[in-house]
Amino acid sequence: MGDGPLLKMVGITKEFPGVKALKGVDFELRAGEVHVLVGENGAGKSTLMKILSGVYRPDSGRILINGKEVQITSPRKAQESGIATIYQEFNLIPYLSIVQNIFLGRELMTNTAIPRMNYREMRVKAKELLDSLGIQISPDTLVKDLSMAQRQMIEVAKALSLEARILIMDEPTSALTSREIEHLFDIVRALKASGMGIIYISHRLEEIERIGDRVTVLRDGEVIGTKDVSGLSTEELITMMVGREIGDLFPRERVSKGEVALKVEHLSRRNVVKDVSLEVHYGEIVGLAGLVGSGRTELARLIFGADRFDHGEIVISGRRVKGDHNPSASVRSGLSFLPEDRKEQGLCLSLSVANNVILASLRRLFPHRITSPRREMNVTLDYVRKLRIAIPSPFRAVKSLSGGNQQKVVLAKWLCTQSKVFIFDEPTRGIDVAAKAEIHGLMNELAEQGAAILMISSELPEILGMSDRIYVMHEGRIVKEFTRDEATQEEILRYAMGGVGGAA
């Protein structure tokens, strides 16, 4: 490797109709470094990376690799220039095998008269790649049967097979458990040592310290600064990102709690949820902690009526849930569910913001079954203002919004139903620091106004910062209940990992 930077982007600009996404961005990546790229949603990180991976063309600016100017006109061109990207929504095809995915677009063919796919050779190479990453899965496994962490490793394997020198990782840990994150970090360190340059996009501040060498902050399409990670304080970083001081990340005053809003007794479903009892009071935020796969989301789905339960009882706002429990009945009895996967389950992506906001409240807003565009608009604008949703127009399709704004639209949709009982499943996953603080603020406001909130989260600081009480799940059971004062990260983790003889 030469002394110059591996990658240099100079004066990159990009304009979309109505938005200047990038205003002359300079960015530099050295061989063998992990360069973290941070910024609020909408700051221009994704646009910059999509330019680098050939999805967008810049309006102006130059890209140099090893000092030589390159034109990246297509994803294929990016691959040929040694750039590989691991997108947040994985770039794999579920019903193809690992081998087929790794070599997609670059299949090896036999040298026979009529060339055909050389699966044997591809399989051997794939196996080598998987072995080098310490993954013990048959390369013929379909991607749909893999866990999120395994899919990510397949993406890494794909990047390695491309012999990429520049690897872009867009929020690689957002779907991983802490053990899987460790494994990923080990691999990132190994890649780094082999001279690869890694651009690492993340919202998790603690990861920046752990894995990053340098960090560049983007805000509103401009580079605010590039700094060495060592010696950079979290406060400094956050200030750079938002351009203002954020006070306490978890500001909170709590009023006294009211009556029981949601009560679950001895709830069971097969072997995913086992004999769970809990209650949430009005005016209270209750955290539900546990590792991925401990049954938290499954429990939430049972309460909401998305799945059927085998035994037990659910009482929502004093009303006992009958056997034919379903989401529609839940909504009518005033229960709201903000799902983990907001794109699939929380929003109709191609519908407008306005349509999404009123979607769950049609019965209330238009009791005579005839809709009124003006009413729809007024209601929507009301929530857009209240929740500070940043959109040019309520007619804009939600798929064009950033993650934080999308989550706010989901919240607006449920607020619009005027329900008093909320289940938040990972409310701030994939959302930047500032939007996160806003969502937390809104949750607190809700609780102060007397709403009951059950919050599932994998982020312990969030659980600890937000909750009045905390339940910990392990293997389908609730193994521990903490009050706010008793709980510490270590204690919660100990129970969540089954370290205390709770689970049978």
Partner: protein
């Protein structure tokens, strides 16, 4: 050939037998017991012969559906090809060229729909729906709405002839099915068709030329419909402008019964052949029971729904057992 232990040679996506295979077995067993004459060699051969034409058309439909598209034009393109071939023969053009003209007619229709889908960006439903109507209309115009009967012996051999007691159309169908199977399993185009059906965006980002793949697959589908049209004309000793009415539905039903979902991304031609067999056996049974054509249509619709419904229920049941 040497095999690596542990690692099977077949990509998983094409290995499974569709659940509807058992439905086919049950249908055949029941029919053999209850309907006299069903189980005879001549009747079974008859079913295979009848199914050959559908099999060829359904191969094209399989490609379209795996790519998460659809081809509604195969039925009327089949009619048009038959008409063109008939006209060519009546005009005294040599047999080989007449056959070629029929096949080319199908190919050109396919290239047109394929281009509309790939480069203009029309939805496959719209593009092939348009072609369906155009081919039907053109067939009626060219034939003046009447059938074009009476061909020479040597042309009719392609529909009626036998080689070692095996009907010629069946042999051609088997060759085509084998080619399509090979295409899907051993060529880039085949894999890309699966990839496009799985996620067009991901396919494009992997450097696959999605447009060219779509053009290719609709061209193949059109070409196959052309071949089926020529063979059917030879079989019926006439080119008829409405002979293919409803064939696109039989083809789509065969594909879906065979386990390729309309959302695409998986499935395959082996499953489609099970679907073709089910549809063909069903038609044969209904004929033997002397059911009128309207009743046949009704029952076939019902069976399609039941077969796919059963498959879904079976799968759910299996999942419940595992989970």
């Amino acid at each position: 050939m040497r095999r690596e232990p542990n690692v099977s040679r077949v990509p998983v996506s094409v290995r499974r037998v569709p659940g509807t295979f058992y439905i086919l077995i049950i249908m055949i067993s029941l029919a053999s017991i209850t309907i006299p004459g069903f189980g005879t060699v001549s009747n079974l051969l008859n079913i295979l012969l009848q199914g050959s034409f559908l099999a060829i058309v359904a191969c094209g439909a399989t490609l379209a559906i795996i790519s998460s598209g659809i081809d509604l034009s195969v039925g009327t393109v089949l009619s048009l090809s038959g008409v063109v071939t008939g006209l060519a023969l009546h005009a005294g053009i040599p047999i080989a060229l007449a056959i070629l003209s029929g096949v080319l007619t199908g190919l050109i229709c396919g290239i047109i729909t394929g281009s509309l889908v790939a480069f203009v960006g029309l939805e496959p439903f719209i593009a092939t729906f348009g072609m369906m109507s155009m081919a039907q209309g053109l067939g009626l115009v060219l034939s003046n709405g009447a059938s074009i009967p009476g061909f020479q012996e040597s042309f009719r051999w392609f529909g009626e002839g036998v080689v070692w007691k095996v009907p010629v159309p069946l042999i051609i169908a088997l060759v085509i099915v084998a080619c399509i199977w090979w295409l899907l399993r051993h060529t880039r185009l085949g894999l890309y068709i699966y990839a496009i059906g799985g996620s067009e965006e991901v396919a494009g980002w992997s450097g696959i030329e999605v447009g060219r793949c779509k053009l290719a697959l609709y061209s193949i589908s059109g070409c196959l419909a052309g071949i089926a049209g020529v063979l059917l004309a030879a079989r019926m000793n006439s080119g008829h402008p409405t002979v293919g009415v409803g064939w696109e539905m039989d083809a789509i039903a065969s594909v879906v019964i065979g386990g390729t979902p309309l959302t695409g991304g998986r499935g395959g031609v082996i499953g489609t052949m099970v679907g073709v067999a089910i549809v063909s056996v069903l038609r044969n049974i209904l004929n033997m029971l002397r059911l009128s054509s309207p009743w046949q249509i009704t029952l076939i619709g019902a069976i399609v729904v039941i077969a796919i419904g059963l498959d879904i229920l079976l799968r759910r049941w299996r999942l419940a057992l595992e989970g």
